[in-house]
């Protein structure tokens, strides 16, 4: 399986492809509406000199967009999640559970938690698909 450099557009494209071709995702996410952004706080020692902004847009089982973006676009998403690089890496490697990480202050969420809970299967599926991608992390390269 191909390896991708994490936090790059190629990595996000691979993720988008995985979601777009997952029949299971399409079924689970048929009610999901709206965009999610992820903000990765800078950590120069780990190879993240500047914050990274990712924007994802999903609609009724379709994945419309997953792309690097600027701060303004990230902050315009329906749900804005932010956290340190090391935390995001733990999420992407399934070392921590994303909902637990939120409640324990390891990640931050701006938006309606009840919507996330109502659609927790969708959220978990998207993360599961991300975990399937073999990635090279900036601090491991």
């Amino acid at each position: 399986m191909a390896k991708y450099n994490a936090m790059t557009q190629e990595w996000l494209d691979a993720w988008k492809e995985k979601i777009a071709t997952s029949k299971e995702y399409r079924e689970i996410a048929k009610n999901w509406e709206g965009s999610v952004s992820m903000i990765v706080n800078p950590d120069p020692e780990k190879g993240i000199p500047e914050p990274i902004y990712l924007f994802m847009d999903f609609w009724h089982g379709d994945v419309l967009e997953i792309a690097l973006c600027d701060k303004a676009k990230a902050e315009s998403a329906k749900f804005v999640m932010s956290g340190d690089y090391a935390r995001w890496k733990q999420v992407a490697k399934k070392e921590v559970d994303s909902t637990k990480a939120l409640m324990q202050g390891k990640l931050k969420l701006k938006g309606d938690l009840t919507y996330i809970v109502r659609n927790i299967k969708t959220v978990n599926k998207v993360i599961d698909l991300l975990c399937e991608i073999e990635a090279i992390w900036p601090d491991e390269a």
């Binding site: 202050g105 390891k106 299967k121």
Partner: protein, 387 residues
Amino acid sequence: MAYDRDLSFVYFGPTKIVFGAGTARDVDMEMAGLGCRRALVVTDPGVMKAGLVEGVLKALGDRCVGVWSDVPQDTGVGIVNRAAAFAREKGADCVVSVGGGSVIDTGKGICILLTEGGGLENFEGIQLLTRPQTPHIVIPTTAGTGSEVTCMAVILDERKGQKILIVEYFNTPRIAILDPKMTEKLPPLLTVSTGMDAMTHAVEALQSVQREPIADGLAMQAIRLLHRDLPVCAENGADLAARGQTQLAATMAGWAFGNAMVGLVHAMAHSLGAIARVPHGIANGILLPHVMAFNLDDAAEGYAMVAEALGVRERGMDEREAAEAAITAIRSFLERIGHPLRLSEVGVTDEDIAKSAALSLSDGAIVNNPRPVLDEEEVIAVYRAAF
């Protein structure tokens, strides 16, 4: 006790506890200790009428710059916004909440707005704040919610017709003053229902997918104290020693669930509150044994600890037998304290059940339930069993 070998968790509980009969009068010294000089007192009409605020105001003297007593049973964003504007106008530098859950959550909301400005509707979310908020001293007048030590607030957004959740470590109350005299006049039904809220916090913390040893220890002791002293309070509200122990139990259960979280009982009780206006503690109490039966296969270990704390785990019982004994003991405890036992007794209808079941699936508490709940029918079945 078996925990995952790779157990990893965060425990957060920074609130200072001041305990003892008459300690509400120490509020001025506690406030001075925080470096504050101008308090806004937040309360509700019932607490005012019960005469519980007078002593606090007397102790504060001119350190109290205003009293906001316009807090309803379920507080809202509009109320918090108006109260915060009032606090700002008066130049308040701290908040003293005297009341139950709704008053305390109002106080929490005001603290954020005094520090951050703006309207509370902009703060829906989890761990968004980056600095300590306005100091908050809480003097609870019930022994149940545990809100005096948690970082969470639930506040109705009147425009959206939906409750918003605000979870902020930086907004945890600095000091909780647990004065048994403040709960002395609580009538028996309110005493037992708020007590069962605390009991449910403790039991749900022990069954949670996020359970951990610190929270478990607090939950166990909370159950022991409630089991011993809640019946005493129900019988004789003026027993200040028993009142004090149940207050401490509620606070310990608050720390337990504030870290380990609650589960299906709370998800279902929140929904019944929203749809059928069933008081939170009563809904929890009625539902607790039924949800325990539903979770049994996935939570036997935690429930065996409940049995231990309730003193019903006998020698030779395996985990499952102990868990079953815990369920039976909770049922008889409810009877003993005169708590309602069935949803039909408190005015719930078939239609309420269907609506509440749908709503439960989107409640934040449900993700921490030991048995995954993904289907409305499962929730309906539990409601029916409690009907």
